[in-house]
């Protein structure tokens, strides 16, 4: 590589760790960019490796006794909340009168001790820890916009204050108020705590003094290299992110004179000591064990048995509700409905009711229409036994018939409409809207009788709605039968299907084939020829039926939505 690739992405990164944060170690490498650096560019990692050895064997020396070019490069390994003093701080705290707080005095002691033992390890790179004044100020003095008169919002100030607080205090406040759900008159303190995020947080700044050589120790030349934040949930925020395999970050300083302007590059790496392989393995094993046991515990709660049905059978299970009826002439509606199973191959458990009557419901206006809500539950199951696959026709599907009636003031009923719909053949949720019609008598007299006396024409056989049960012929004719279209009834059905045939088939087949096709595989007799033949027959029958009937009776009365 002839040229350095700069990393311009200085966004923050979020890490999570359950390990104690004191194990965190960072390696920061800082170097001034000169023209020669551009020519002999080495990957940062390799350079770092050499330097670690150097750093460990080199005796610590005072900052003053160095040649300029050595000063241009520095590498430090920093632990979490480890204090490295800057030249400025060293100069400041040497002076007894500058120390005010206990922390200042402590720093002074440490600096004096360092001076006696031969000076600081670090020269340009230093840190501000959580307890330093800088971190407090920085929290809300940080500018975010280019506005010259940017003032930190009350929210920024509050966040800065709240997050300083330690865990213990928060715990006490929490337990005291837990008993009441609502705090009727929140105090200032409560608001401060609750309107901001109050997860305790510790911050640390890694800084660099980028002053010209020999002029260290001025606040003006301090630059932030990296901000680290760790909260009590184990969330570690690093801004900018660890360098890793990216190129180094770059800082340019501006001085009033030409020679004060300089460019620097730096890298940040996570060099926290990893857990021993054995430890790692043990931890993995413990986790695996724990999860495994938890899984077993859960499945022991669940159990294993489940009802099964006879091989070759299809079970159709429907949870349904009569939702509503709307658009009818009279008020106080109720619905009478039943499910008819086709005669061939279908059966249902003997105890089961296949019919129901809803309550009578007074309607309410909804836009143009008057609606009656029933939310009447019904549930039924039916079995389809697929015995003979070479049979002449495709299996029929159950049909839902309904009849809407209205009650008058004297508790007499009128028929408002008849309707029918074939149950959906696919599993899942379906909303069916059934349009209904009623037999009509001509003339005013009949309508008046319907209004005053109640009662009206009824069908003797409700299955006349589709194809009468007694029908034997080839062509169905309803000629001479007058009807009037009335309102609609809405059903909601949740259908389930169960069959042993479904257990083998995989998901791809599920999409490709219909229910009936998948059932057929069971007796191993079916060939594509049979199936195609059956479809052709069915289509021919459909066409014949269509030609022989008036158009409006052919289209199924139900509409799927």
């Amino acid at each position: 590589m002839a040229e350095a690739v700069w990393s311009t992405d200085t966004g923050e990164a979020v890490y999570r760790s359950r390990d104690p944060v004191r194990n965190l170690r960072l390696r920061v490498h800082l170097q001034r960019i000169t023209s020669s650096n551009f020519l002999h560019y080495q990957p940062a990692a390799q350079m770092g490796k050499d330097l670690i050895d150097l750093a460990t064997f080199r005796p610590p020396q005072a900052a003053s006794g160095h040649r300029p070019d050595e000063e241009e490069e520095e590498e430090v390994v920093i632990g979490w909340q480890e204090k490295l003093f800057s030249q400025f701080e060293v100069d400041l705290y040497q002076n007894e009168s500058a120390c005010q707080s206990p922390l200042d005095h402590q720093y002074r002691q440490e600096i004096l001790k360092l001076e006696n033992s031969g000076g600081r390890k670090n020269r340009r790179i230093f840190t501000y820890t959580d307890s330093d004044r800088y971190t407090d100020l920085e929290e809300y003095c940080q500018k975010i916009t280019t506005s010259a008169s940017e003032v930190p919002s009350f929210l920024a100030e509050r966040m800065a204050n709240v997050r300083r607080r330690r865990q213990d205090r928060r715990g006490v406040e929490g337990s005291k108020l837990k008993s009441r759900i609502v705090t009727w008159e929140p105090s200032e303190d409560f608001i401060k705590n609750n309107h901001a995020i109050n997860t305790p947080l510790q911050t640390m700044y890694i800084m660099a003094d980028l002053g010209p050589y020999g002029k260290l120790g001025y606040k003006v030349h301090e630059h932030v290299l990296c901000i680290l934040k760790v909260d009590s949930n184990g969330v570690i925020t690093v801004k900018p992110d660890f360098t890793g395999i990216k190129g180094p970050y770059r800082i340019e300083t501006e001085g009033e004179k030409q020679e004060h302007t300089s460019a620097w590059k730096y890298t940040i790496d996570n060099v926290s000591s990893l857990a021993q392989p054995e430890e790692e393995e043990r931890e993995q094993r413990v986790f695996k064990d724990l999860y495994g046991r938890h899984k077993e515990y859960l499945s022991s709660l669940v159990g294993t048995d489940f009802e099964m049905i006879a091989p070759g059978a299809l079970r159709l299970f429907v949870n349904g509700e009569v939702v509503s009826a709307q658009g009818y002439e009279y008020d106080n509606l109720y619905v009478h409905f039943f499910v008819e199973l086709p005669a061939a191959n279908w059966s249902s458990p003997p105890f089961q009711q296949l019919s129901g009557v809803t309550q009578a419901c007074a309607t309410k206006s909804l836009g143009m229409d008057k609606v009656a809500y029933f939310s009447f539950p019904f549930t039924f199951e039916a079995f389809f036994l697929h015995e003979d696959e070479s049979a002449e026709s495709l299996p029929e599907w159950p049909v839902l018939y309904c009849k809407v009636l209205s009650l008058d003031f004297w508790q007499r009923y009128r028929v408002e409409g008849y309707g029918a719909v074939v149950l959906p053949a696919t599993p899942g949720s379906h909303t069916l809207t059934v349009s209904t019609w009623r037999p009509m008598e001509l003339g005013l007299v009949a309508e008046l009788r319907r209004f005053f006396i109640g009662g009206s024409l009824e069908l003797e056989d409700p299955s006349y709605v589709r194809i009468p049960g007694t029908f034997k012929g080839e062509r169905l004719s309803r000629f001479g039968f007058r009807t009037e279209t009335t309102g609609t009834v809405t059903f909601r059905l949740h259908c389930l299907q169960q069959s042993r045939a479904f257990m083998e088939s995989n998901s791809l087949q599920k999409q490709m084939r219909s229910v009936l096709d998948r059932l057929e595989g069971f007796s191993q007799q079916s060939s594509t020829h049979n199936v195609l033949e059956a479809f052709r027959r069915a289509r021919r029958r459909m066409q014949e039926a269509r030609e022989s009937l008036p158009q409006d009776l052919v289209s199924p009365t139900g509409t799927l939505t």
């Binding site: 669940v302 009802e307 509503s324 309550q359 009447f376 949740h494 599920k510």
Partner: protein
Amino acid sequence: MAEVHVIGQIIGATGFSESSLFCKWGIHTGAAWKLLSGVREGQTQVDTPQIGDMAYWSHPIDLHFATKGLQGWPRLHLQVWSQDSFGRCQLAGYGFCHVPSSPGTHQLDCPTWRPLGSWREQLARAFVGGGPQLLHADTIYSGADRYRLHTAAGGTVHLGIGLLLRHFDRYGVEC
């Protein structure tokens, strides 16, 4: 056994003439079903909406069932009540809906109804309040005795329910 997770919210209600509504809810299942975790019934907060006429409850539901069979699939039954400024409660509607059987997210609209009573009681309800209530809550979610009732249509309760199924395919059930 197969497992069913019912995770979602009772969002709120529209179309009720009363304001300050709350809702009592419960889930009924058959004998083959076992509740492993979660709460089977509850009561929402009382909401007086500021915008529009929809009362919002945002009441979370999180249930984990195990089942041996399909019979007795969970049914959700609801009672909507209104509360006046003196804290008195009045029935606004009963409703029920089947918990859907297909996995995924469902927006359910559950229409409600209430018993009408005699014309005297209807008149009294219009002026004083009150009105007949059901003796047994199971009338809400079973169809057996419904034909004896004469009811009036109420508003609609809106639910957002997510279904998560496990091991039904193992027993050849398609949902």
